[in-house]
Amino acid sequence: MNNILIETKKGIIEILRGLFTVLKHAFRPPITLEYPEKKPVLNSRYRGALALRVNADGSDICGGCKSCMKVCPCGDLIQVSTHKDENNKLVVDKFTVDLGRCIFCGNCTEVCPKKALIMTNEYELADFSRESLVFDKKKLCLTPEQSQKWHEALDKDIQGVN
């Protein structure tokens, strides 16, 4: 008989202890981030949408070496087509990335020798059709100031000081 009493006493105490731990939480500030109004703060390493950097005078840095095409896990996601101009320097005339199928792994940005292809903090990529998610060169290129900004951010990050 008395172990039932001890059992219930212990049970009631445990339930009350659980209840008051939950009540303690009532006096703590809520941690929800109200997304559309307040956007999360992201650092420069965040792997968002791809973008192509350009030089200060607008000519693009990408030398058309196509190594990013080879290292992408999805194979035909990045399409780069180049042609040789008069002093046989490669000129990139088509550079498309199908962001609908990209898994944002960052392989291409690591392997790019000139750090032309980078990953911005842009994560709102919803769109109305799959075709419009295939970004062509014009959509990918950043403005010179943006590329300069990203250049400094990446430098600071490589020394691990950002």
Partner: protein, 392 residues
């Protein structure tokens, strides 16, 4: 009165099957006569994908084998390739790997705790567990750039060093964590309803566990001391002291207790690793390197130990020699082994993933026969099965 068996289909879309698992159950009233798991709804063909991709192309896909513990799949794949190609990993990279893996173990256990208690009805621990998990994911986002699919290890080490101030944040989180674990224990551990729902329910005996190849917390809850970090320790686990958490009678409650202790152990491991890391915080390391300036390997400051990766590997021309290798690591759900056969070409010839949840789901019918339908949630929840690992 002649009763007819009710064939119930706990289908692929069900709130508590942790993914797409279908359990075809024949119920007699509430008693389960027979249960037959049907898997394969999440089969992405990880092993066939490997055969048409190079090692570097396959590395980001390895995160997806078990999306709750991506660092562990990357570690097992990198360990196998490093032993194949004979790459040595510097000590600093090993420490960074241990820190990130243990954080990932805590995050994965918190996800298990949240869904296990939600299945049993207690809703508030879910939000508290997710609050800690969010802190860990923000740390990962600062370190690797992504919240769940990190692609952060590379063959022979780690891709980037800690950002500034990251180690300080990690230490504060490690101080805050044990208090939060005490809160979960206060709400749940000796709660009479929780005890009655999980005490000696789904008892897994030692022989049945070994016979079914169960590993990880489920095995340790039955009293067998098999923790690869301790027994055949890989990476730098032998330099960190921690204890493996055991329990005796292997019921759902003991699996819960083992996982909560394991989370506390992981916090201790992270604390030690953060102090013992060769070279300290990246800023201090940078200053010391510039002062020391010597280039030879032996010097402890700018020698091999404080580098991030061993030999520089060109991704497009990486051909490990022919041969085969097995790497075994202790992932949150059990022992994950990655068996790679390479024939000297840039693509792996055969990759075989052995994942712990596969044998956990195989064990389910043995544990569930004759039990009541409501016990399904307590037993299945405590086994911590995650479906991407089962179907690969």
């Amino acid at each position: 009165m002649q009763t007819q068996e009710l064939k119930l289909n706990v289908g692929p879309q069900h709130p508590s099957t942790h993914g797409v698992l279908r359990l075809v159950m024949s119920l007699d009233g509430e008693i389960i006569n027979d249960i037959e798991p049907v898997i394969g709804y999440l089969h992405r063909g990880m092993e066939k994908l490997a055969e048409s991709r190079t090692y570097h192309q396959y590395l980001p896909m390895v995160d997806r084998v078990d999306y709750l513990s991506s660092f562990f799949n990357q570690e097992s794949f990198c360990l196998a390739v490093e032993s194949l190609a004979g790459l040595k990993v510097p000590k600093r990279a090993e420490y960074i790997r241990v820190i990130t893996m243990e954080f990932n173990r805590i995050a994965s256990h918190l996800m298990w705790l949240a869904s296990f208690l939600l299945d049993l009805g207690a809703t508030s621990p879910l939000f508290y567990a997710f609050r800690e998990r969010e802190d860990i994911y923000t740390l990962f986002e600062e370190l690797t750039g992504a919240r769940m699919m990190y692609n952060y290890y590379c063959f022979g080490g780690v891709k980037k060093d800690f950002p500034s101030g990251w180690m300080k944040k990690a230490q504060d989180l490690c101080k805050k964590m044990p208090k939060c674990f005490d809160e979960y224990e206060a709400i749940i551990t000796n709660n009479p309803i929780f005890l009655r729902r999980t005490k000696d329910i789904g008892v897994l005996t030692k022989e049945m566990a070994l016979d079914f190849g169960i590993t990880g917390p489920n095995l340790r809850a039955s009293g067998i001391d098999l923790d690869l970090r301790k027994t055949n320790s890989y990476s730098v686990y032998n330099e960190l002291d921690f204890k493996t958490c055991l329990a005796e009678n292997g019921d759902s409650f003991d699996r819960y207790i083992v996982r909560i202790d394991e989370m506390r152990e992981s916090v201790k491991i992270i604390g030690q690793a953060l102090e013992k890391i060769p070279g300290g915080t990246p800023e201090k390391l940078l200053v010391k390197k510039t002062n020391c300036g010597c280039k030879e390997e032996s010097c402890p400051i700018c020698g091999f130990d404080t580098k991030l990766t061993g030999k520089k590997i060109v991704p497009l021309a990486f051909k490990p020699p022919a041969g085969e290798a097995i790497s075994q690591i202790e992932s949150p759900r059990g022992i994950t082994t990655c068996y790679i056969v390479s024939d000297g070409s840039p693509n792996p010839y055969r990759v075989r993933w052995r994942t712990p949840s596969f044998s956990n789901v195989q064990l389910l019918p043995e544990l569930m026969k004759g039990k009541i339908y409501a016990d399904l949630m307590a037993i299945f929840g405590s086994l911590d099965v995650v479906l991407p690992e089962v179907d690969r």
